[in-house]
Structures are given as structure tokens and as C-alpha cells.
């Protein structure tokens, strides 16, 4: 464990000097703020929880920060030769990946919390209230979502054989789960189900997923994408917290919503686990 924390601490000390990282974080904060400020006043008055509306656009930008922060975490060390320095010291390959993951996770969480703080201030300025439960659920959700993407990026980074490939793979994943998911994957799934079951599926692809009453298969399949899972979990986590803390209630279906949270957790853990397994066997020339 000592090696994991030593590697993580050194990595943090190095990464926090990265201009690309802070540039991307600044960009994310600016874009999220602009999205919020450009909402019309009528709309802002209508929404039930302004903060949860405001964090909507994090769904698009968190992956980019996580990718910038994670894609070279392991393969970059292999290409530069720094891995030979680190593994020449008392450490194992497994500890190296976990140390890198922990380092990048803590930097990302710091960046996200800072970003969310800025946004919360802007929301407060506009609607004059920040209830505690939505704020707490926003923090939990952003961390979970950030973990999913940094897990994916660092996992890919441990498996591929060059930085270029790492970028190609993580950007492809982002394209798949972002634009392609809504435009191609889900419509294709709908057509497929219609053909197989000889029915017509009435599905609104852009509705609020948390409370959606679309066919059950769709509620699960849609949430396989971390972006959709994020979107759905925004209100679900809030509802769960309210039930736990203030005795609220929810109309959200627990099955698909819990599945969505599990999907995010899986993306946080599975790619890293695969990366560890794979990296343990590879020749580091």
C-alpha cells in the first residue's frame, strides 16, 4: 500500500502542473456556466430543481476532462520510460496502475468539485437558494460519473500499446456513448425490437430518463451509456437522498435506475480491473 500512495502522491505533484488539465477544467467550467446562464428565465422558473438542471451539461464535458487526465496515465509512462524508473523501485505493476488511478481520480474530483462550486454560486445568484439535498446529490453524481470516465481512460491506457491508440480508443468510446448512442445505437435497437417482436415501440429518445415509462428493455439498454446513466441518475440520486434524509417519495422505477448507477460503477471499476489483468502479463520493452 505504501508504494501505491507514494506513486499516487508523486503523480499528483506532477499532474497538477499540467496546463492542459487546468485549461480543460477551466473550459468545462466556462461552458457549464454559459449553458446555465443562457437558459431563459421562464424555463428556470419552471424547473423543480435548478441546480440539477444546471449540472446537465457536465454530462458532455466531464468525459473530456477525464480523457485528457487519464489517457496517458499508464501508456505515457511506458512510452517515456518513466515506468522503468518506477518499477525499478519496490513496487508491482498492479500497484503502479492503482496508484495512477487514485492520483488521477483525486485530481479529477478536485477539479469537478471546484467547477461545481462555481456553478452553484451562479445558480444561487439567479434563484437565490441552494437546497442541501440537490447539492449533495450533484456532488455524489459528479464523482461517480467522473470515476466512470477516468476508469475507462486509465483502463484503456493500461491496455493499448501507444498513446495514439489510447486517444483513438477513448475518443471512440466517447463518440459511441455520446452522439452515436442517441442517433444510431438506440434507434437501431428500437428498429431491431420492432422487427423481432413485430410491434411498434413508442419511444421518446430525448425524454427525462429517470421517470420515463418507455418499454422496460429500453430503460435498461439506454443506461448502458454512461452519458444516459448520468442523465437518469441526476434526479434519481436526489430522490433517494430525500427518501433517506427527509422521508420523501419518488415515482422513479427503481430497477432501471439502480441499474444505471451500477453501470456507472462498472465503468469505474471494470476497465481498471481488465487493465490490471492485462498489464500484469505484457512485456515492457
Amino acid at each position: 500500500m505504501n508504494s501505491v500512495t507514494a506513486i499516487a502522491r508523486t503523480d499528483i505533484a506532477d499532474v497538477i502542473h499540467s496546463r492542459t488539465l487546468w485549461g480543460t477544467t477551466g473550459l468545462m467550467t466556462t461552458l457549464v456556466a454559459i449553458s446555465w446562464l443562457s437558459l431563459s428565465t421562464e424555463l428556470v422558473e419552471q424547473v423543480d430543481t435548478p441546480l440539477l438542471t444546471a449540472i446537465d451539461s457536465f454530462g458532455l464535458w466531464v468525459p473530456l476532462v477525464a480523457i485528457v487526465l487519464g489517457y496517458e496515465a499508464v501508456i505515457g509512462e511506458r512510452e517515456s520510460g518513466r515506468i522503468r524508473f518506477l518499477l525499478g523501485l519496490p513496487s508491482t505493476r498492479r500497484e503502479l496502475i492503482i496508484g495512477k488511478y487514485l492520483s488521477r481520480v483525486s485530481v479529477l474530483v478536485t477539479a469537478l468539485v471546484a467547477s461545481l462550486g462555481v456553478l452553484a454560486v451562479l445558480v444561487f445568484v439567479r434563484v437565490d437558494e441552494i437546497p442541501l439535498v440537490p447539492l449533495l446529490s450533484a456532488v455524489i453524481l459528479l464523482v461517480l460519473y467522473g470515476l466512470a470516465w477516468i476508469g475507462m481512460a486509465v483502463g484503456v491506457s493500461s491496455i493499448v500499446s501507444s498513446k495514439t491508440r489510447a486517444v483513438a480508443v477513448v475518443v471512440s468510446l466517447y463518440a459511441l456513448f455520446g452522439p452515436l448512442w442517441e442517433q444510431i445505437v438506440l434507434p437501431a435497437c428500437v428498429r431491431f425490437v420492432e422487427l423481432v417482436t413485430e410491434t411498434t415501440q413508442s419511444i421518446n429518445l430525448t425524454g427525462r430518463l429517470t421517470y420515463a415509462d418507455e418499454p422496460t428493455w429500453f430503460l435498461y439498454v439506454a443506461r448502458l451509456s454512461p452519458l444516459k446513466a448520468f442523465d437518469a441518475a441526476r434526479y434519481y440520486i436526489r430522490d433517494l437522498l430525500e427518501i433517506a434524509l427527509t422521508g420523501g417519495q419518488t415515482t422513479a422505477a427503481h430497477g432501471p435506475n439502480l441499474f444505471g448507477l451500477a453501470v456507472l460503477l462498472c465503468w469505474a471499476i471494470m476497465p481498471i480491473a481488465l487493465g490490471v489483468l492485462f498489464f500484469d502479463r505484457v512485456d515492457l520493452e
Binding site: T10, D14, G81, R82, F85, G88, L89, D283, E285
Partner: protein
């Protein structure tokens, strides 16, 4: 117990046999040189000792432990200066040594380590501004953290200036005096010659020989050459010398016979040297200077690696 032991270790990358059936034993406490030209399979062998690369077949034991199964146990007792390493450019030399000290769970003083390798005054400078030689000194310092039982130094002299090489030699000797086993690789031979007890030569993925530096010299080319400067080269001198039993070749170098010049006498046994000088003087020359040339390891090495590649072509 041997510090390093490999049994029938081979490594194949796709179709190429990088290393073939290497049996190597480095005894505890010795300074062992690992020689070979670039591309000889030296790096792959060391990468396998360090568990960066896994052998296709064969077994490796470092300090009695399989590095693949218990990498951490091996590392705790080993100091490593790998080849092709990189540092954190934005962090200082001291920060790097501190990381190593942390990972060894040692209580060494980072400043003392940096002083020992001659980086006094550069402790707090970012490593990105270090020269190649300074980085190599830092890497050597990191290998010394926690007083390891075994030092594995891959091309430790690369990038070092003559001063750095002197420091390296001193440190290797000091460590060896304390009982540390040192395994160092090089393609520059005189460094190995100066510090090593035994030497292994590798070429074309196979281990050609393992011997002491002196032993190598004897098996390969025991000749030493006597070079005499003379005031005059007598006509009969070549013939007279050739009559001697253990003289292999005589080479006379003079503008013309009768003028001053040099006579090179290759002896298969150095005991014959005084007799040879006697014959030259008997022939009527006055010897003005005497020089002796032992075959250098460089020549031996060239002879060894050439003959092996000849064998390959056969």
C-alpha cells in the same frame, strides 16, 4: 546462494529469438560484468532479470526468489539502474530520491545520496533541466537507496563524462567492499575491465563465455607483444629471434635495415621476453626502449564476437 541464477532462459519475440538458452550464475559478493555489442540480447536478458520482460522458457532466480512471482521481495533488496528510463521532468532530484526512499521504506537521507553521486547543489532543481550525465548520476543514486544487497546497473556509464565514470567506479568498488553484489552491463569494455571480477560475453542471443578478465585474456589470446626500440636493426635479427621457441612472430620496422627502428616480437609466453632482448643485443643492436602491449579486452572481445558470427554464417 547465488545472487543471480538463470537456467535455460530464452526469449522469443514473434519470429526472432532474442535470447537463447542462457545459463548464468552470479555469485554473492562479486562484481560481474555483462558484455556484448548492441543488439546482442543483453538488454532483453537484463529486462528479464528485472521482470520487465517475461522469459518464453527457463527459470530466473534473483537472491533466491523468482522475480515474476515476488517482484516486491526482489526489489526491496535490489538497487536498479535501468536503461531507457525517464524521470518526472517537473520534479526535483531530491523529490525523486525521496520517492525512492518512501518506496524502500528506508530512512536514508536524500541529500547524502545526492552528495554521494556528485549532485550537490542541484538537489532542488527540476530534473527537466538536468544534463544526460546528471540524470545518470541521479539514477545511480536512486539505485543506492536503502543499501541494496544486489545492484543491477544497465549501461551505467552511458552519458557520463570521465569524472562521472570515476565516481561510478569508486561507488562500485565501495559497494563491493561492503559485500554488495554488482551486476553491470556495458558495451564499453575498459570500464568493465577495471572493476569486474568476472565477465560474461553475449552475442547473437547466446552467452559465449563467462570468465575472469585475466582468464579471458589467457584463453583467447595469451600473446603479449614486446616492442623494442633499437639504434640499428641488424640483418640477422629476425632469423635469430624466430629460432626462439615461444616467439610467434617478429615484425621489423625500420626505414631500411641498418638504421634505427622498432622490432615487435609477439611472445606466446612472457617468460621468453628477456631471452628475446638478449638475442637482439647479441645481433649487434642497442635497445633504447622497451614496451609491452597486452592484448586489450577490446581486441579479445572483437575476436570473440567475430568468431561467433563466423560460426553463424557457416
Amino acid at each position: 546462494m547465488a545472487a543471480i541464477e538463470t537456467n535455460g532462459v530464452s526469449k522469443r519475440f514473434d519470429e526472432t529469438h532474442a535470447v537463447r538458452d542462457v545459463d548464468l550464475t552470479v555469485e554473492s559478493g562479486e562484481v560481474f560484468g555483462f558484455l556484448g555489442p548492441n543488439g546482442a540480447g543483453k538488454s532483453t536478458t537484463i529486462n528479464m532479470l528485472l521482470d520487465f520482460v517475461r522469459p518464453t522458457t527457463g527459470a530466473i532466480s534473483i537472491l533466491g526468489v523468482d522475480p515474476q512471482e515476488q517482484p516486491r521481495v526482489v526489489r526491496r533488496r535490489t538497487g536498479v539502474l535501468p536503461e531507457g528510463y525517464a524521470f518526472y521532468d517537473r520534479l526535483s532530484g531530491r523529490r525523486h530520491v525521496e520517492l525512492a526512499i518512501d518506496m524502500y521504506e528506508s530512512d536514508d537521507d536524500p541529500i547524502a545520496i545526492l552528495d554521494r553521486v556528485g549532485l550537490t547543489g542541484d538537489e532542488d532543481t527540476a530534473v527537466g533541466t538536468y544534463s544526460k550525465g546528471m540524470r545518470q548520476r541521479l539514477a545511480l543514486g536512486i539505485a543506492l537507496v536503502d543499501d541494496p544487497d544486489l545492484l543491477i546497473l544497465d549501461e551505467p556509464s552511458s552519458g557520463l563524462d570521465p569524472n562521472g565514470i570515476r565516481t561510478l567506479r569508486e561507488i562500485v568498488r565501495e559497494e563491493a567492499d561492503q559485500g554488495t553484489t554488482v551486476f553491470l552491463s556495458s558495451h564499453v569494455l575498459d570500464q568493465v575491465e577495471a572493476v569486474c571480477d568476472r565477465v560474461a560475453i553475449m552475442n547473437d542471443g547466446t552467452l559465449l563465455t563467462v570468465d575472469t578478465v585475466d582468464g579471458l585474456r589467457e584463453t583467447l589470446d595469451p600473446n603479449s607483444t614486446l616492442i623494442l626500440s633499437v639504434d640499428t636493426v641488424p640483418e640477422s635479427v629476425s632469423q635469430r629471434l624466430a629460432e626462439l621457441d615461444r616467439v610467434d612472430a617478429v615484425d621489423v620496422d625500420a626505414a631500411s635495415t641498418g638504421r634505427d627502428g622498432t622490432i615487435s616480437i609477439t611472445c606466446t609466453d612472457s617468460g621468453v621476453k628477456s631471452a628475446a632482448i638478449g638475442r637482439v643485443e647479441d645481433a649487434g643492436a642497442t635497445v633504447t626502449d622497451i614496451g609491452v602491449e597486452d592484448s586489450s579486452l577490446e581486441e579479445l572481445f572483437a575476436a570473440y564476437t567475430d568468431s561467433s558470427s563466423d560460426g553463424e554464417r557457416r
